[in-house]
């Protein structure tokens, strides 16, 4: 089970933020084209940085806590999932905060 730790952690991030989509009406998952337009270029830039850093031995992923399913040498799919999960969490948070602020403003009015 240990080797799924990183992947499970990313999954938990997505699971815990999922209520923002439905309870606070964040509408991030439900706008997939807009979501991809935000995720893909960011992931491209940061994964490129990441791949270079791993190749230059700046950092690496502990084989004990990663799946070992490598998309590039010493670069597990778990790390790719990081660049999906964490940005999605941030976008859900932004849209949820916007909705809460708008709701509060309406109540004041």
């Amino acid at each position: 089970m240990d080797r799924y730790q990183y992947l499970i952690l990313m999954g938990l991030c997505l699971l815990l933020t999922l209520p923002l989509e439905f309870l606070l009406g964040a509408r991030v998952w439900r706008r997939p084209r807009r979501l991809l337009a935000a995720l893909v270029p960011t992931a491209a830039v940061f994964i490129a940085w990441d791949v270079i850093a791993v190749a230059r031995d700046h950092w690496g992923f502990n084989p004990r806590y990663t799946t070992g399913w490598e998309v590039l040498p010493d670069f597990p799919v778990d790390e790719v999932m990081f660049f999906v999960a964490v940005p999605v969490c941030a976008l859900l948070t932004l849209e949820a905060v916007r909705n809460v602020l708008a709701r509060l403003a309406r109540e004041d009015a």
């Binding site: 979501l35 935000a38 950092w59 502990n62 806590y65 964490v86 940005p87 969490c89 941030a90 976008l91």
Partner: protein, 119 residues
């Protein structure tokens, strides 16, 4: 020499600010919701990133030579907060750009333009 991770993290922050100010101009830095959301994200980053970088059982292992040496809070390399800010702000900028609709001029603006056009 500035170690690589803090050096490139600072550079990433600067580049993201330049992209917003000079290229995308989404206006996100003037929006209260953005700063509140980044505060919420920061609060959740500490336990998640803390888990990933804890020295007793790390998921991500850093070469000490590339780090600033500051590991706080928990065992998180402090420069990682700059890295995270740059990455997430870039995502938000692109989200804003992709969601931007071409604003149609209001009837008033159209008529004003009409008058000016005739002068």
């Amino acid at each position: 020499m500035i170690p690589a991770y803090p050096g490139f993290s600072v550079l990433a922050v600067v580049l993201v600010v330049v992209v917003e100010r000079r290229v995308l101009r989404t206006g996100i830095f003037a929006e209260k919701a953005y700063w509140i959301a980044m505060g919420v994200v920061l609060a959740f980053q500490i336990p998640v990133d803390g888990w990933m970088t804890k020295l007793s059982a790390p998921i991500v292992v850093y070469n000490p030579e590339v780090l600033s040496g500051w590991r706080w809070p928990l065992d998180i390399p402090t420069e990682e907060f700059l890295y995270a800010w740059a990455m997430l702000t870039l995502v938000i900028l692109l989200w804003e750009r992709a969601g931007r609709r071409v604003r149609q001029p209001t009837a008033e603006e159209r008529s004003r333009a009409g008058i000016l056009g005739r002068l």
